[in-house]
Structures are given as C-alpha cells and as structure tokens.
C-alpha cells in the first residue's frame, strides 16, 4: 500500500502519512505549561521550582521536590487508575475514599506487633493470634476487603440496575460506618516492621539488585508499576476493549454478545482491589489506621481522571491521560506550596480545577456531538 491514499466515499481524501495527535497531547502540554508558570513565579522570588538552587548540593534538579510531586499523588493516583477504568466503562465510583477507611482499619488489625518498646501493644485489637503475622496476611485481608466492597458495588449496579452514582454513594456511607464501627472510632496502630517496610522500604533497590535506589518511595514505585500494567490491560486485552465498548454504547455491547453485567462486576471489583492496594501503602506509610482515612479521595481520583481526559460519559480516556492528570494535580499543589500560598487557597483552587475539567469534558462532548 502506498503511504498516501485517495479513497473513501465521495472521493474523500485521507493522507495516511499524517497520523493525528494522540489524545493525551493536550494534557501533556497543559502539564508543561503549568510547570513553566510555577518555574517563572519561583524565579521571580529568586528560587526555582524544578531545579536545584542550593550551592551545597551537587544536582541539576530539585530532587526532593520531584520526589514529593510523585509521592503525594501516588496513593490517590492508584485509586485514580481504578476510577479510570470504571469511568471508561461508563460508571463512577464515589465509595473509594470510604473503602480506604474501612480497608485501613481491617488490614491494620492484622498487621499489629505484640510488643512496642518493651510494652504490650496499647492499641492491640485482637488477641495474640493476630499479632506479628507476616506482612502477606494483612495484604491479603486488605485486598479481599477492597474487592468485596467493589464487588458489592458491581453487583448492585449490574443486576439491580441502580445508577452507579447511587450504588456507590450507598457504599460510601456504609463503608465509612463500618470503619467507625470496627474499633469504636479508635485508631489501630503499631504495625510490624515488615508491614512498615511495605511503604517505607526501598523496593526499587531490591528489585534492581542494588542498581537503583529510591528509599521511602515505594508508593510511587507501585503507582508507576500499576499504571504501566493497567495501561497495557486497557489497550491490549479483551477486558480493556470491553470497558471502552460498554462505556461507548452499552446497548450495542449487549447486542454484540458481551456479558455486560459480569464485566461491570469485574470492573468495580478491580477498582476496589486498587483502592485496597493504595490503602495498604497509606497505612504502612503512616504506621497507623484511622476510620476517617481517605476522606474525599474519590473526588481527587475522579478529578485526576477528568483532567487527564477521561470522559464522565464513558468510552473515552486512557491510563496515560490519568497519570498526566495526576501529575498536573500534584504540580499545582507543589507549585502553590513553593510560592507559599495558603492551604485554604490550595483547596479552593483544587475545587476550581475539578469544575474546570468537567466543563472542558462537557465542551468536548458537545463539540463531538455536533460533528456527527
């Protein structure tokens, strides 16, 4: 085949050598622009956003800041990966933040150590049988807890045909209630060293046999690994293809023989599993679990996805887009901190970004609708 072709109904011309920009291009450009703005603002104060300005340190980049930019969105970012596939499949998950709370309490209860500084663990929840278990136990319990919540969401949405918004709103309330009930509102603390190492260790060093090292950044490593994995799943597997098909035209997917209901259960279960993975990192990092953990995380996650070009109407968006959206989110937070803007302003600006992203999404929808 020649690279230039002239075919199509009515002599429609199409030049195959011209491939369109990938959909994430706009998000990437926005990320670069926002970063440049903060760099300029910092330079006006004689500092730098991205680059090292301390003479005592021999580095080109401001590594602590770059580390924080990744780390501070790793946990909500992992949740955003799950939210992305839910939204691509035409759903929404408002329960993630509360599932973090419930999973945190449950998982941590199986991660406790018996002795703290020579005294019996003051926060011990269960008897000696649940003390000093290997880290794999709380991991499995935590994952099961998140998957159960996700599966309940999925079953409600698929088989009772409740709108996802309502079903996951119910889970949002119930899961938070379960978290409060678990230990009557008391925090669960003092995990084993093994559990603490999950987030605070140096898994990169371990995986690369000492070649690379990124201590204390395990949540970021997990975020990146899961992002790559899920990105491949969405692109190259039947699972991903069906998420897009269902989000794009559920009736057509059904007509084509796709088991839409079963797929939805799977999608929400995987979202729950990712939420649980994020929770394990969070509790390991904090060395403690509280029932109020993860409050509003679902909104951060949805915002990251929407900023990254995932459509609230389903069918459109990519994992790469969401990762870029998460970075935009993080750069803005770090940027405001770097120019010493109050946390109150940060919250307000965050809200404005979310609304702005949704407006942009709706505008894209309308532009697309008018084209067909």
């Amino acid at each position: 085949m020649a690279d230039k072709q002239n075919h199509g109904i009515g002599g429609l011309k199409y030049d195959q050598s011209k491939t369109p920009w990938p959909p994430e291009t706009g998000v990437f450009v926005a990320l670069v622009l926002i970063t440049v703005v903060f760099e300029v603002l910092n330079r006006m104060h004689g500092t730098s956003f991205l680059f090292n300005t301390r003479a005592a340190v021999d580095a080109i980049f401001n590594k602590p800041r770059l580390d924080i930019i990744i780390l501070q969105v790793s946990i909500t970012g992992i949740i955003a990966l799950g939210a992305t596939q839910v939204m691509v499949a035409g759903g929404i998950d408002l329960s993630a933040g509360s599932v973090v709370g419930a999973t945190a309490m449950v998982a941590m209860s199986f991660a406790q150590t018996a002795m703290v500084n020579g005294h019996a663990n003051p926060k011990a929840l269960f008897g000696p049988w649940a003390m000093d278990l290997p880290a794999v136990d709380p991991i499995l319990v935590g994952l099961a807890c998140g998957m159960l919540a996700g599966m309940i969401n999925g079953v409600l949405i698929a088989y009772t045909r409740i709108p996802p918004f309502i079903a996951t709103l119910g889970m949002m309330l119930s899961a938070r209630g379960a978290a409060d009930w678990w230990s009557n509102g008391d925090p669960v603390s003092f995990p084993t060293q093994g559990y603490a190492n999950l987030a605070n260790g140096d898994v990169l060093k371990y995986l690369t046999f000492g070649l690379l090292s990124w201590p204390g950044e395990n949540p970021a490593v997990l975020f990146i690994v899961l992002a790559i994995l899920l990105s491949l799943v969405m692109k190259y597997t039947v699972y991903g293809k069906r998420c897009y098909a269902i989000g794009s035209n559920e009736a057509a997917a059904r007509m084509s023989g796709i088991n839409v209901d079963r797929h939805k259960v799977l999608v929400y279960t995987i979202a729950g599993m990712l939420t649980a993975a994020a929770t394990i990192m969070l509790t390991s990092k904090n060395l403690s679990a509280q029932a109020g953990m993860g409050m509003m995380y679902e909104l951060d996650a949805i915002a990251m996805a929407v900023i990254g070009g995932v459509s609230l109407n389903g069918g459109r968006g990519t994992i790469l887009g969401t990762v870029l959206g998460a970075l935009i989110f993080s750069v803005i937070i770090s940027g405001f901190t770097s120019i010493r803007l109050d946390a109150y302003y940060q919250e307000m600006v965050k809200g404005a970004i979310i609304v702005g992203a949704v407006v942009l999404d709706q505008w894209r929808q309308r532009r697309n609708a008018s084209r067909t």
Binding site: G10, V238, K241, S248, A252, G257, R316
Partner: protein, 254 residues
Amino acid sequence: MSEFVLETRGLSKHYGGVHALDDANFALRPGEHVAVVGDNGAGKSTFVRQITGVEQRTAGQIFFHGSEVHFSGPIAARDHGIETVFQNLALADDLDVPSNLFLGRELIKLRLGPFSILDRKSMRQQTEQALVKTAVKIPNLTSTIRNMSGGQRQCVAIARAAHFASKLIIMDEPTAALGVQETAQVENIIRGLKEQGVPLILISHNLRQVFDLVDRIVVFRRGRIVASLNREETDGNDIVSYITGVKGNEDAYV
C-alpha cells in the same frame, strides 16, 4: 436440507393491546433476496426482532433450515449464522473499525480469561479483507468511527454482517439516512451478497431500490403480511396499492 432457509408460521407479537405483528407466515428460499416493505408502524422492525431473538414472540413458530428454533437473544441467532443490521446501529462510537467489526467476538492471541490478549494484527487484516470484499471504503481503520459519516458507519455495520454471516443477513432500513452515493455503495454490497448466494431480508422504503435488488417483495400492513409478489409480476403502483390498503385486505400466504 429443507426447502426453506427461514420459515415463520403464525408469528405474532403483541405489545399489550397493540398487535404489532399478527399471524405472519413467511418463507425464504436458499439464495433468495426478499424485500419487506410497508408504512411506518406496519410491523417490519417487530418482525425482525422476533426472528433474531431480540424479543420473545407472543405466538407462532420459526423454522431455520427446517428445524424449529427458539433464539434466546441476538447472540443465539448469530451463532446460527444469522447476522442483522439493526435500524439503530449497534456500533460503539469510541472504538475503531476493527474493534467494531469484532465487537463481542474478538480474536485472541493468548487465552487468559477476561484478560485474554487481543490479536490486533489479525483483526486488522481481516477487517481490511472484509472491507475489500464488500468494497467498503473507509478513510482510516485505526481512528474511532465517531467522526465518520452516516454512510461510512452504515457500511461498517454492513461489512460486519457480511463478514460473519454464513446463512442469512437481515437489514432493517440500511439506507434510510444515507445520501445518494452512500446508498449506491450499500446497494453494491447487497449485489455482492447475491452473487455469493447469501440469502437476504431487506427492509426498505425505497421502491426503486427494492425493484433493483430483490427477487420478491413482501408487503406488511398493520402488522399483517398482505402480499408476497415476485418482482417480475408486479410494479411500483401495485406495491403502493398494497401498502396503502387499496388492495389486499385478506392475508397473503407464500
């Protein structure tokens, strides 16, 4: 092998008090192309939905290649080699052409349950072949079909049906929303199917098209089949008389 590809006896569908389809006796012979015509609301789409199992019939029997069938859904019909181009396109706008062609029956490279790896290359190649076979021209296989014209999207739907159909194709008003050139394109695909000997039921309002393409014309009126006429023994005025009820107030049997 039976004399008929498809036969319905007393096929009826009632929506509450509405007798959308009443006692339809219909038969299709091997290789035959039949048009179904009738006014809006005459029951043509209802007839298609009963045959393809999209809805469950109120009464009557359906025979496919001589044996009685009870399709639980369009997938069951599809498994029997019946492909349908529904009036409202069953396409996913955000997917590209190969993904739409293989929607629900993706080709697999490595079987891993729901996470099976797609064989994207084969799907792409087979899509190209299907488009060549049906002479469908699409600007770009890898972009989503959202921005394609109505005709191109319809061609994708028809190419999908033509690619997979082994025993019967049903098209419900495939050219209703298309321009002149796009209609010609679809008609060419239908001629190709005739040459291949694939039987076809074509629902259409366009009598010129019907007389150009098919062997026999079946007229529906108010949920009943009122005429079944070979193309040679009828003309446009005759058909219109049946459609409007000037002629044929008794049921027709084939």
